[in-house]
Symmetry: C2
Subunit: 251 residues, 2 copies
Amino acid sequence: MPLTLTPLQDIPLIKPGDDLAGIILRALELSSLQLETGDIIVLAQKIVSKAEGRLVNLATVSPSPAALELSAKSGKDPRLAELILQESNMVLRTRLGSVIVEHHLGFVCANAGIDQSNVAASSEWVLLLPKDPDKSAAEIRTKIEEATGKQIGVMIIDSHGRAWRIGTVGTTIGLSGIPGAVDLRGQTDLSGYTLQTTVVGAADELAAAASLVMGQAAEGTPVVHVRGFPYPLREGSLKELLRPKEQDMFR
Amino acid sequence: MPLTLTPLQDIPLIKPGDDLAGIILRALELSSLQLETGDIIVLAQKIVSKAEGRLVNLATVSPSPAALELSAKSGKDPRLAELILQESNMVLRTRLGSVIVEHHLGFVCANAGIDQSNVAASSEWVLLLPKDPDKSAAEIRTKIEEATGKQIGVMIIDSHGRAWRIGTVGTTIGLSGIPGAVDLRGQTDLSGYTLQTTVVGAADELAAAASLVMGQAAEGTPVVHVRGFPYPLREGSLKELLRPKEQDMFR
């Protein structure tokens, strides 16, 4: 069965308080897409954060001494540096132009995922990640499932850099109703050799695929409909994808 | 336009010397898929390595003192440790069960990408990565383009672990006729705010998507047909995706 990813047209600019599930249901209708059980809806983090009112005006932020120090090392606005620290468990690396942190949500990312683009014409407004993206995904999922009677998955993604490779790739920050990682250990391969170490980051593979379709540029299509995800849907969580610190050789 | 990834059925088990382009053309025919200009064919590394005869019998390998040391630290077979060293520029991390290296091809990966599964019923045979995957991709592309008259992209992928996250994801190790990274800097976003830092790892996003469709398990569908890649095709190379060592904060 092919995997098909369709960016939904006609998603309006999202404002705080907007009902994303309702907006998605209308966009599906306009696209003549009938949801089926097993389909997945992938949302860009930006629209979830906006709907949840995670906008902060930098004018309201007072940088701490630690933020001033981080600002000096990174070249970031001291008020942005303050927000990065507030959103993070720890700073892993700092150099001019980039701050790599472990976010409160548990993953490693640049600038605590705080976004200055695509927020408002003034760059004084920034956008924090959703407070609990697994929960955001679950809420959207419940509403869509109730409206349609179909069992689906919902995922929220962001663009993350990688340690050793150039270019961002779409990465899962929250999910509901789909597996995060899929454990294939113990299965045999074509030669009858037992697979030793294969845990697949299935949700992240889908996140990358959806990100490709969303694009990053002006047009912006922040919701993608997915059909043909090859693994059985089940309850899942972001935690499945996060390597415990004590197993991390590169922190 | 949707992005559609279709795993090709009826790909036989590949042997050294096999003509992959011919096999893919026949599989496309059997799938009733007509290649169009702009389509992309994604191949799993394993079948390219096998066709290129990159099999090594461990019985023929004599471990060096350095390999014996690596074997002691990692628990790997000393002869496999020898091959890992031969295939790598440097070892980045070693611990029980895993050796993370910079491969001669320039990327960071586990065990120099050497595969023990899916090679032969005996685990004495292992499979090295293709010698020059960009070139392998270009050769397959040329043959398919000559046979069909369509301009396509060809990509070779492997499953790589990530520094901070659980689970492997499909990752580009060679490509021809498609961009590796896409630079969106200077474009404006929906708010008229100029995007500052967005270079997208477009080929890696597609690699992850294709890997999802290939699966890792017994069925194994090592060739995927892609339609709807959203960026213009152009000449590309793996190098676009490799972060120069001096810019790498996590090596």
